[in-house]
Amino acid sequence: MRVVVADDSVLLREGVVRLLEDSGFEVVGQAGDAVDLLRKVNAHKPDVAVVDIRMPPTHTDDGLRAALEIRKQHPDTGVLVLSQYVEESYALELVGDSAGGVGYLLKDRVADVDRFVDSVKRVAQGGSALDPEVVAQLVGRARREDPLDELTPREREALELMAEGRSNTAIAEHMVVTERAVEKHVTSIFGKLGLVPASEDHRRVLAVLTFLRS
């Protein structure tokens, strides 16, 4: 899989590049700022771009803006944004109205190599990868009448994993249950929250996010 990596910190960028190359990715371009990133993506049309939020020129959310631009211009290129902060509003903005080929992770997740690589792959293949912290924020939001109270603890866990963008297989593995049991949980969750069941994982993510942000 072909990747473009953008981060103004050379140390971190090199680290991510090495990690991805070790895991079998082909890093086709590296960028140190948002403008450079857009140019490289235009030129290489990679499967996925791994983008740090805070980058020159303004050192605010240039990376996020560039990521949104990429999603608009190159729907086939997945975008995985790395952030110093858990900022669920950024994640929601990034997802917009499609959770396909998009990810938002805390920067320190790169240290957990296997999961990070898994997330990059998922996004490159058109899936989604939301940071558990972001999901926890969204789920844990104080609500006046919380329909989430209806869920059992296991269902809640399944909901969070689902929102992260994981497949039923991954959820089953994580919860140490059968895929069949996961399917049952998912059906129950959608029933309790009044959501229309979705077949693809990333559509499921959007449905859950839409529910959580309302």
Binding site: Q84, E88, R143
Partner: protein, 581 residues
Amino acid sequence: MRRALWCLAAAGFVFGVIDLALILTSEFAPDRELSTALGLLIGWGFVGAGLFAWARRPDNRVGMLMTATGFAWFLAGLSLSDIPLLFVIGAAFGSLYFATAIHMLLAAPQGRLQSRSEKRIVGLGYVLTALVVPVLFVFVDPERDMECVDCPENVLYIASSETLVRVVSVAVNFVGLLLVVFVLVSLVLRLLRASAPERRLYAPVYAAGVALMITLIAILVLQSTSVSNEADGVVSTVALVPLALMPYLFLASFVRARMFQTGAVGELIARLGEAPHPGDLRDALAQALGDPSLELVYWLPDDKRFVDAVGAPFDLPSDGSGRAVTKVEQEGECVAAIVYDAMLRDARDHVRAVGAAAALALKNERLDAELRAKVGELRSSRQRMLSIGLEERRRLERDLHDGAQQRLVSMALNLRVARDKLRDEPDAAEGLLEGASHELDAALAELRELARGIHPAVLSDRGLDTALETLASRAPVPVELAALPGERLPEAVELAAYYVVSEALTNVAKYADASHAVVDIGRDNGRLVVAVSDDGVGGADPEQGTGLRGLADRLAVIEGRLEVDSERGRGTKITARIPCG
């Protein structure tokens, strides 16, 4: 009211004429010419001056007491009559006017007795002169006990008891002496303690009172020692002089008060024309009102409080503090207040006139006071900001030291030990590395939170709306964002508004025990109005604790204001008004 007073005036006049007729026809009255002339002068003087003051100030009892003294005086005059019944009445109630005069002197100038001891003394005076002496009179044989050979007979006479009359007379005289000494002392004290306006207006009255009391003491002493009848007579006549002067002195002080008032306003207006320097205005008003203790305080509409000329907060005095307050308004808006000696309270209209004349100058000086208040406030809020800043740095240092730094140190140790064990005990090394990895995660999470606390990146990236959405979603109680600005604002304004909501929501979570909170942000007159309300227990006190105080200080730096409305049991509403372009 007016008719009743006219009737009293007529009655007083007739009473005087009757007295005159009785004295002129009397067989035994001594020193007829002098006592007749002085007697009429005193009686009519008290009644006339008393009724004048009564009519002018019906709420002040001095006029009434003066009138009563006049009538009591005429009553005493009856004792010079030849007609037995009138003689007896006059003689029995002949000392009543002492009681009313004492009452009047102690009640002046406000018309009220000031202390309990004064009330007791006056009461005692009435008991002696209206009860004890008249009752005693049934035992009095004028010839024997009054050494009055020509007097008519005592028609009330029922029994003779020379000893009783002697003893009681001495006792009455002695108590009377104590009474008079008390009044003398209080009058002297009043003279000494009088404020400037009081002294200017009432010193002559007090002085006459003092003179009267001294002569009364002389009379009483002479009577009880009975040195010589002649000396007694002379002193009695001398005592009539301050008594005769008293109503006219009262009248004079009353007229003086009016006179200086009208003159002073003209003078003040002339002085104001000379464009006074700050502070001169107070002096000009103090002079115009003749009260050196006068204070000028200015109303700050923004802060809803008064400040003095140097901008220090000022609480208006309460009733009964000896100070009176008159507010100065211009175009229906309070500009300032004049705080002055309560003795001038009767001249309230005059103070108002002086205030009105000075209103424009006051308005200018208020701006000055407002500036000083603001400078003072800024200075102290800068001090507090400085200490808050220091405190925050200390806290950051502590958090870094106790948190992330400790974790990194322990991780470094683990890594070193793991390296040493890698060859020989790979399992132990793996466990250590695992632990180090957890420490690292925790350290990163802590650093992230710390950085967010120092400055929320999303605020500068995306502005207030997004930052508040995040803040609301993290709050442990449901937060409704009723209205948000919907646009980017100057950075300082956004930051201030963010901290207001953040601090308010923190308080809601910590203390309010609320089921939900509402954030409402709007614009009013060039200001951003940030309101956070909850339905919790209320009772938040901005003076307690550093949170709200620190918030007010942060706001003060950008000219913002904080209001806390937190009645116990009614929830809390925190409103910040931040100037924004």
